[in-house]
């Protein structure tokens, strides 16, 4: 499998399932390091190359990652790296690395492994909808498979040892991407976010750390990795996300019952702009898609699926737009292409009251 086939692949995790509503996707990642080897940031290039080779061989022998693709960071173009970032397969930090750093990714992109990013290993499982327990179970199995081939840095008291002390212990970060446009339209999202931060959860925007919540998308994850077991961390998040879904449903019900004209206007305007705009920035596009998603969830738009919206969200990002026409585009050209793509894909969309 090559990166070009990956880009065109309909098997991308975002379009795998139909059940994306308020919870857009679930993600779990584990940080691990090899025993008695310096962490990647402190090790020399030779050591990183050796570790990378060793780890690739270990993953090749696992059942979970059979037939997966390996991409060496030193062999990828800047555009390829951009595509991988937009697909949530690599971080900005890994993209900056060269020889000795790489990515192993399963055919459906559901499991990806960053080698020599901040830690020797960052293993990630991702899926649409709310399936945290299920993907944790899968990642746990992969972790155990890998552990049979390589000794992990572990301490009886501190657990799995990581380059950054904020990941020590379980090395587990579980996160859920939520579409909270009902709460946002009623101006109640900020209060909810403050509440989440008070109970020790982190809230970030669509594109991870340091980004604001565009398109009414919020990424909610555990902050602490030491003190509670993996099962307890996941259970807390599942419980909080369940409550948040109830809050969002309640907000949407109030919008529907008390401010229906405002709601339909919001969705109708988005359809109007999406079908007729000739220039669209990334930010404007995700906001329009958020309104369309709300229209689909309410049944005001019937000939569009959440899965298709996910796909458009991915394809309208700068890297994907450029890969599709196989050349580097300036921001203005990208905005025009993005508007064109929305018109093409959403041409049949109609508002039904």
């Amino acid at each position: 499998m090559q990166i070009d086939t990956l880009v065109k692949s309909p098997g991308c995790w975002l379009s795998m399932r139909e059940d994306t509503g308020i919870v857009v996707s679930s993600r779990v990642r584990l940080a691990r390091n090899i025993r008695d080897v310096a962490f990647p940031g402190w090790a020399g290039e030779g050591e990183r190359v050796r570790v990378c080779r060793e780890l690739r061989a270990v993953f090749d022998r696992t059942e979970t990652m059979a037939g997966s693709l390996f991409l060496d960071m030193s062999e990828l173009t800047a555009l390829d790296k951009e595509i991988l970032k937009e697909r949530h397969l690599i971080s900005h930090e890994l993209a900056e690395k060269g020889a000795g750093s790489g990515l192993i990714v399963s055919e459906d992109e559901g499991i990806s492994v960053m080698i020599n990013e901040e830690d020797h290993l960052r293993m990630q499982a991702i899926t649409p909808g709310m399936h945290l327990e299920e993907i944790w179970h899968g990642l746990d199995l992969l972790d155990s498979e890998v552990e049979r081939g390589v000794g992990f840095a572990f301490d009886g008291r501190l657990g799995y040892l990581t380059a950054c002390p904020s990941n020590v212990g379980t090395g587990l970060r579980a996160s859920v991407m939520m579409h909270l446009s009902g709460l946002k339209l009623l101006d109640e999202a900020q209060a909810v976010i403050n509440g989440l931060e008070r109970i020790g959860l982190a809230v970030r925007g669509l594109l991870g750390e340091g980004t604001e919540a565009s398109g009414n998308m919020f990424q909610i994850s555990n902050q602490s990795t030491l003190g509670r077991s993996e099962g307890e961390i996941i259970a807390q998040l599942v419980c909080v996300v369940g409550d948040l879904v109830d809050h969002e449903r309640h907000a949407r019900a109030r919008l529907f019952q008390q401010r229906r004209t405002f709601l339909v206007d919001h969705i109708g305007r988005a359809i109007g702009v999406a079908l007729h705009a000739r220039i669209l920035s990334s930010r404007e596009a995700v906001d329009l898609l958020s309104a369309l998603r709300l229209g689909v969830d309410f049944g005001f738009i019937t000939n569009l699926k959440a899965r298709q919206i996910n796909e458009i969200m991915l394809l309208t990002q700068p890297g994907h737009l450029q890969k599709m026409c196989n050349r580097i585009l300036g921001p203005e050209e990208r905005d025009q292409m993005r508007a064109g793509l929305l018109r093409d894909r959403l041409g049949e969309v109609k508002l039904r009251e």
Binding site: D143, S144, G169, T170, L226, G227, E230
Partner: protein, 171 residues
């Protein structure tokens, strides 16, 4: 006895306080006690008044040049990049990292998954402790039971080592 705060009035109150683990008794007059709010029986407030620091322990000075015994990363390197050099840094900078870990995490002890070998090692160490205690207390029945469990774990470990495989235990 004179008040230990103003050194003028006659002391008519004895206040006990704990500072960094030491219990001190201080004699104060009614006026100074009222000023420091001791009426509300607030010992930390009086401590604040007397020493200006409250009950919080003073942070330990950090040696920026301290280096990890294994990878030789200095603490100042960690402060610059926020990343440690190797697993041994956790032990080398144990006292420096402790307040940081306490501020980030909910607990100070890992309670989740462990690699198969580590789990067996922790269990064996616990059993050995209990075995020595049972022998010391001359509880030979218990000691025999613990010895058998230890042997069982050891033989399982050897078998796993021979096949090159081991099962990991989730939480």
């Amino acid at each position: 006895m004179k008040c230990q705060i103003c050194q003028q009035n006659e002391a008519n109150l004895q206040v006990k306080q704990v500072i960094s683990g030491d219990v001190r008794e201080i004699a104060v007059c009614g006026e100074c006690a009222a000023k420091s709010g001791v009426k509300e029986a607030s010992i930390p407030m009086l401590t604040d008044f007397l020493f200006g620091i409250g009950m919080k322990p003073q942070p330990q000075p950090v040696d920026e040049d301290k280096a990890c015994v294994e990878c030789h990363m200095r603490y100042s390197d960690f402060r610059k990049g926020s990343l440690l050099g190797c697993a041994a840094c956790y032990e080398s900078f144990e006292s420096e990292l402790r307040p940081l870990l306490e501020s980030i995490h909910e607990g100070d002890r890992h309670t989740g998954k462990a690699p198969a070998g580590e789990l067996a090692a922790a269990e064996t160490a616990g059993l050995k402790d209990r075995l020595s205690r049972a022998v010391a207390e001359q509880d030979f029945e218990k000691a025999a039971e613990l010895r058998d469990r230890l042997r069982e774990i050891e033989s399982k470990r050897e078998a796993a080592a021979c096949s090159g495989k081991g099962d990991s235990n989730a939480d």
